[in-house]
Homo-oligomer: 331 residues x 2
DNA sequence: TCTCGTCTGCCAAACGTTTGGTATGAAGGT
DNA sequence: ACCTTCATACCAAACGTTTGGCAGACGAGA
């Protein structure tokens, strides 16, 4: 920067202010000229030195359990985009499930002096990483909330409700659920929203009609097969995620039940193939990019010393052929 | 750190050396004691200040066009893991397709003084971002290579060959290709490998048998429909990605051609659902996590002043029901 | 007991910015 | 012509580490 200053015939401090566009202290013409000069010579001010001086790195940390799950990937894209829009960069660390990895990851980020951290890797048991609360770094939860802590989450309860209303509306009274893992806040909320509405309509959802499974296709298949094995023949099935739903549909097929005619099937997450399946799958669509964007905005506001409110992003149900028909009255 | 030094009754410089484990200058016992003390008081040395002094940030930059494509997500996970293993952090920026965004992203990373950059967003036209070559930051290409520049790439040519050999082996002579976008180096290589082997076997692959499409399911459907619309009835179809293949299978279904019996179908990338489709899909499996890992290792070696070689990671073909049968002799 | 060698720890400069305080010059009002 | 006011630019300290150069202490050999 000193070199640039000499080139421009100015003091470094003036150049610094000019580069940061401080119009209250530097003439507009000078700002313009310095900007030009910097561009010509490919000069990029050293963000590290600036960070040391100002105490702000303009970097946000993000904690996710995985990047290969589309849901997280979408949120991460939203985060990255919004961050860059606001002049920040995102540093993402994959924490997996091990508790130790998690604290180590937090320590790294804190050591890098990130300005704030978005925690998106929490499950039912885990709260905020201990290493994080003891540091003074501002943070919030995203995607999956934790208790009453500050967070930006998808409204999974509402999603469950929407599905229940839809199925009741089409005349279904005999329903079952393929319910995802028990320790995911996600599945808990989706299920409880669904159950609330169903119950209020006077329909029973016995424990034998809810079977838990991991998030994969094969697991959904097995879970559905189990339900059918108990002799159940529901007219509608709510699957707490699309992969599970795809697996479930295969199990139904094996029992000679045709999805979209004999049985209604609704998934969750609206992954890209859902719309293109042989029988297009109804699914709850979350705008996870928006979750990411809002999380960044809230975090920046928190960093600025404000107290942003927690937010929930409403999903919407996309009805397709798999559940678009009305229940057969005779069943 | 000064506080910690007082607490330990030592000089800051000694504490610094102790924390970094410099056994040639600090007694082991002291190292131990300081480490303990730091842990107790939750002290994390300021990486920013260290970076300013040493000129190394211990951060790597990554450029990807998107994170929502599983292929990139997998590679990113590999990068993140290997980086953290080597004491680095990864900073990922999503560049989309706009040229301007790309240079801006590079400028950000260079401004942050990352120690090196992994460029994984190149298409046929684009070389290294101009902002990158003019900076002194070490970089290499990953996933998709560019000319003879240093890179760690998946061997797409080999992937194409494997598919061709497999289909020839099963007796197919009447083949077609759903070929992905024209400007992706990926699709070019897969296609050229495939074409080489096919041609060497004396089978013709006319221009009317290759139709390009974007990477999505719907696009694959349309492309396949176009082929069929021309009156072609190939006994085998190679789809340059799994989404395309899923779309293509629907088009085949519409023409009363059953995948796995009337026509063989092979995809690329082996996404998780491929194994679980009604007719499990044969697909070329890339270990993209490995690509990410190797990219990190090569980059670190480059940073250390060595000259690592370019590398290719070999994929393998996973044969499933969609192409496991032998071609019907009468066709 | 003296000297030499080795191990350990201290001092201070430097990394490249930012920013409050202050000086200089020009313009405008009386 | 003189004073005030405003706009613009300069000086220097500080952010928290790292690291080469030295000094002090301790033990061993003669």
């Amino acid at each position: 920067m000193t070199q640039l200053a000499q080139l421009a015939g100015l003091d470094v401090s003036t150049v610094s202010r000019a580069l940061r566009g401080d119009r209250s202290r530097v003439a507009s013409a000078t700002i313009e000229r310095v900007g030009q000069l910097a561009a010509e010579h490919g000069f990029q001010p050293d963000a590290v030195a600036a960070a040391l001086r100002t105490g702000r790195t303009k970097v946000l940390g993000v904690l996710v359990p995985t990047m290969t799950d589309v849901a997280y990937a979408q949120m991460l894209e939203g985060i990255a985009q919004q961050a860059s829009l606001r002049g920040y960069l995102a540093m993402t660390t994959v924490t997996g499930s091990a508790r130790r990895t998690r604290n180590a990851a937090v320590a790294s980020l804190v050591g890098q002096r990130v300005d704030g951290i978005i925690v998106a890797d929490s499950t039912v048991g885990s709260g905020a990483p201990t290493a994080l609360v003891s540091s003074a770094t501002p943070f919030l939860f995203a995607l999956r909330g934790v208790g009453h802590q500050l967070g930006v989450v998808a409204d999974d309860t509402l999603g469950g409700r929407l599905v229940a209303e839809h199925l009741l509306d089409r005349g279904h009274r005999d329903v079952a659920v393929v319910a995802g893992p028990t320790n995911a806040t996600t599945s808990r909320r989706r299920l409880s929203g669904f159950r609330d509405v169903i119950r209020r309509a006077g329909v029973e959802l016995g424990a034998d009609r809810v079977v838990h499974a991991d998030w994969g296709v094969a697991e959904g298949h097995a879970a559905m097969a189990e339900l059918l094995g108990h002799g159940l023949r529901p007219t509608a099935v709510f699957s707490l995620n699309d992969y599970n739903a795809i697996g479930a549909s295969r199990a139904l097929q094996n029992s000679a039940l045709e999805v979209g005619r004999d049985v209604a099937l609704v998934g969750y997450n609206d992954i890209s193939i859902s719309a293109e399946l042989p029988v297009p799958l109804s699914s709850v669509h979350n705008n996870l990019e928006t979750v990411g964007r809002l999380a960044v905005d809230s975090l920046l506001s928190l960093i600025d010393g404000h107290e942003p409110p927690s937010q929930t992003v409403a999903p919407r149900l996309i009805v397709r052929e798999s559940s678009g028909f009305s229940a057969h009255p005779q069943r």
